[in-house]
Symmetry: C2
Subunit: 150 residues, 2 copies
C-alpha cells in the first residue's frame, strides 16, 4: 500500500466517489489534507484509515453525525464507552424499526400486486381499485402516520 495518495487514488482504494471525499472534508468529517505544490490534496495513512472507518460505518447505515461522534469518542481513549454503546443501541433500534415497517410494506405490496387479476384495462385494474379504495377507507394506518422513508 503506497502512500501518499492523491484524491483519485484514495477514492479508488476506498471505493468512494472522490466528490464524496471532498464533501467529507467540507463538512469537517475528514481533516484537511496536506497540499502538494500544485494544490493537489495529498493523503497519508491516517487519512486512509479514517476514510475506511467512515465508509464501514456508512455501510452500517450510520448517519454522519454518529460517525463524527464515534471519532470524537475514539480521540478520548480514557473516557467512558457507555455513549458509544448507546449510540449503537439507538442505531440498532432505528434499523429494527425500519425493518419492521418494510416487512409490513412488502406484505401490503404483495397483496396489491396480486390484485390485478383480470383486465388489461386501467378502468378494471385491481391495483388501482385497491389503492383508491384503501385510501378512502379508514382501516389503513396511512391516515394517522407519516411515511416510512429512511
Amino acid at each position: 500500500m503506497k502512500t501518499p495518495l492523491k484524491i483519485g487514488e484514495l477514492a479508488t482504494h476506498c471505493g468512494v466517489a472522490l466528490e464524496t471525499i471532498r464533501y467529507y472534508e467540507k463538512i469537517g468529517l475528514l481533516p484537511l489534507p496536506h497540499r502538494a505544490a500544485n494544490g493537489y490534496r495529498v493523503y497519508g495513512t491516517a487519512h486512509i484509515e479514517q476514510l475506511a472507518f467512515i465508509r464501514h460505518c456508512r455501510a452500517l447505515d450510520m448517519p454522519l453525525s454518529d460517525i463524527a461522534a464515534l471519532q470524537q469518542f475514539a480521540d478520548e481513549p480514557s473516557g467512558d464507552c457507555g455513549e458509544i454503546d448507546s449510540l449503537i443501541e439507538t442505531h440498532l433500534a432505528r434499523v429494527h424499526e425500519r425493518l419492521a415497517s418494510l416487512q409490513n410494506l412488502e406484505r401490503q405490496l404483495l397483496n396489491l400486486r396480486a390484485a390485478c387479476t383480470s383486465g388489461r384495462c386501467v378502468q378494471e385494474c385491481g391495483i388501482l381499485h385497491e389503492l383508491t379504495a384503501a385510501a378512502q377507507g379508514d382501516g389503513c394506518v396511512c391516515h394517522s402516520q407519516t411515511p416510512v422513508s429512511n
Copy 2:
C-alpha cells in the same frame, strides 16, 4: 364529512402537515385549489380524495413521481394497465432489496452490540475495536459497496 375545507382542516383530516399540502401543490402533484375572497385555499371532495390517495401511496413508500404517474394513468381509464402493474412490480423489487440489506444490517449490528463485553473504557470498547478492525480488514463489503440508505 363537511366540505369545503380550509388547508388546516384538510391537513388534520388527512393526517398531513399543511406545509406538505402546499408543497404538493407547488410541485404540481395536487391541482390548484379555489381561493376564498381573503386568499385562503378552499378544498372540495375531489381534493380530499386525491390527497388521501397520495398519502396512501406514500405510506407504501412510493416516490412522488410514481404517484404522479399513477394519477396520470387513472385519468385515461381506457388505457392499458400494464404500466401500473409494472410500476408496482418495480417498487416491490426496490422494497424487497432494501429489506434484504436491512436484514443483513441488523445482523451485523447485533453482533457489533454484543462486542462490548468487559470495559467501560473507550480504549477497551469492543464495539470500537470491531469497527476499526472491520474497516481495515478486507472481508467487509463496504470496500466495494455504496451505503444502504433509502
